[in-house]
Homo-oligomer: 273 residues x 3
């Protein structure tokens, strides 16, 4: 049950090491606290191995990457792999610049990721660049809609199987697959796109859910996606006419903070394919 | 009409590349989203040329500059010039340190800026340092008030003409000039000074307005200034007794998010000299 | 009186240079503005000496340190010492990584700190690492509670005396000592732990209180701690059922912004030992 996945985070308070961009980092930290985890941030190569060693999970987000933090990502990722920690990749902007694409692909090669979360365009970039997908995948649509859903589910399942990672593609419809099953999730609101960093926030939270749910990583990842989407719905219901995207950001994090098992299970809208 | 300038942002959703300080970057991103634009942040020299190439505008803000991001500023600025993108400079702290003054002056020399936005002290530093102003300009007052207005308007017009950039000086009274005309804007509230980064936010938003309004850059820049000031007024009207500067920050961004053509035109207080 | 300490900040508007982590930096800036100070951030070695020279105080926070910012910390700290500015250390994560522990200890050796603020674990790391404490101190408990209070007070007093800095240990009960007297403060709420960076915020604010209260640094530091804790209480009273940690963050900063002498004195809960 999804509710157990959340409860496991609340009970175990997983410490998550984040190497993440400086744009949305504060919100990532507050979302990790809101869901029941505990954040620590560090990107300096000389610091990251020690820091990741005391954590249960590592969240690598390549937004605002620089040469120094890239070194930190590889060092932390390898150390986390050694220690059998949960490791997540958020390939922000893969496909938008050579450095981001190359860094994301090289990370995929050298580090074993428990999960990868991005939008369809970023995930396609990884799939094509890593050569794990057939030519046909290049044709997967750039948005997951009811019309393109079958094709997108097949793509995500195949990439999950071939990469050995849980793949989470988020957008209007969210897909989370381990290569066998695929959660198709229809929570959330389009207005979430007017807030910077809801994707980064989800990646941080998903890492906590993976750490806290080693026995069912796929359901853990899906529960994180549902929690974010439902918080977007509840946050929207709490908006007043004069509120806009800045207050909406606060309302979403507040809703994660107040999320309970019953609300999560009652409001989750998903099917498993 | 100012309202058209805002509508053009909403219709065209300009993608703005920001090389900006890590203090206020999250608010800059949310303000860009609030006004109808789309933000992307990158400062790594190896990354910035690719990123700026997919954008329509570039916002360079030298707060928390470092040797690496300074390189990124020059590379991105030159690439943006090559591509004929709109480029804005926010010379945060020019005059407060040698590195900031020198970096801002060198940027002005090597990069063609569509607009420069700062407070009177920062803009004076640029004008004097670049040798484009006569000695008399050294005497322009350190605050733009009704008493010093004539002198300040003359200074801003002259610096705009000589630098070839739109110059926006913001403070109690805001001035925006292209060298021929000068908008004198009296929107805003003094309490905005109790929030970190309203200037940085305006610079990000102004870049989006420039990109979306290539046919009337001056009115575009002035519309951004009015939007920020009016949002400050509306945000203040929505404050409750227990609210303080943190909630005010959210209220201002919310008001930008909800700004429409009618409100902007009805509440804008400006004259053109 | 504690109220005078706050009023002195409001009257003198101390400019505080912050070398601080990119996670909580925006909140630190807004808290400094809320209490009546003025923030400026800079970590680039070539920039920090000029910046710190125009300020009254320097707040060094080692969260998300990197090789470049570490250089900046030493240069700024030495320059601030030369100029007899107030300097505060927040040793975030000392004890959690070798780099953080070593950096904090080296900073303590080479720079004279007016005050050091951290949690008990960070402060113990400094005390033990600097060899200024007897073996018995290793046994001080990892949380300051009514049960461990006597021992903790003795530890904090001894470390303050031996280091020559005001030592502030914050947690469920806060201790602030100059080696002679120790303020034992019982303001605040446990829910503050669900917000990232309340400690960083307090360090920024405490620096402003030190600058503004040169004649009674200990009471200044204690007044900053009380202000933060009381703001946590008032902010909590203003929470609605749908609010969570993100709104609580705003409510606390708002409460600092609205704090007045009477409220501070009426609500402060402390004893001096």
């Amino acid at each position: 049950m999804l509710g157990d996945r959340l409860e496991n985070v609340r009970k175990s308070v997983p410490l998550v090491h984040n190497i993440t961009n400086y744009v949305t980092v504060n919100d990532v930290a507050n979302v990790l606290l809101a869901c029941g985890g505990s954040p620590i941030m560090s990107d300096e190569p000389e610091d990251v191995e020690d820091i990741t060693s005391i954590c249960g999970g590592l969240n690598i987000n390549i937004g605002t990457l620089n040469q120094n933090s890239i070194k930190g990502m590889f060092l932390a990722g390898k150390k986390a792999n050694e220690l059998d920690h949960k490791v997540l990749l958020d390939p922000v902007g893969a496909g938008a610049s050579g450095l981001r694409t190359d860094t994301a692909l090289k990370l995929m090669e050298e580090i074993k990721f428990t999960a990868v979360r991005g939008n369809i365009s970023e995930i396609k970039t990884l799939a094509l660049g890593s050569g794990t997908t057939k030519g046909v995948d290049a044709d997967v649509a750039d948005a997951v809609t009811e019309d393109t859903l079958d094709q997108a589910v097949a793509f995500v399942k195949r990439f999950a199987k071939e990469s050995g990672s849980i793949i989470a593609v988020t957008g209007a419809i969210d897909l989370v697959s381990d290569g066998e099953k695929c959660y198709v999730i229809r929570n959330g609101r389009p207005e979430m796109g007017k807030i910077t960093g809801t994707g980064c926030q989800l990646s941080g939270m998903m890492t906590a859910f993976l750490v806290a749910n080693p026995d069912d990583l796929l359901e853990g990842a899906a529960a994180a996606v549902c929690t974010m989407g439902i918080a977007g719905e509840i946050g929207w219901d709490n908006m007043k006419p004069e509120d806009g995207n800045s207050t909406y950001r606060n309302r979403i994090i507040d809703a994660i903070c107040n999320m309970d098992r019953q609300t999560l299970e009652r409001k989750a809208k998903y099917e498993v394919r």
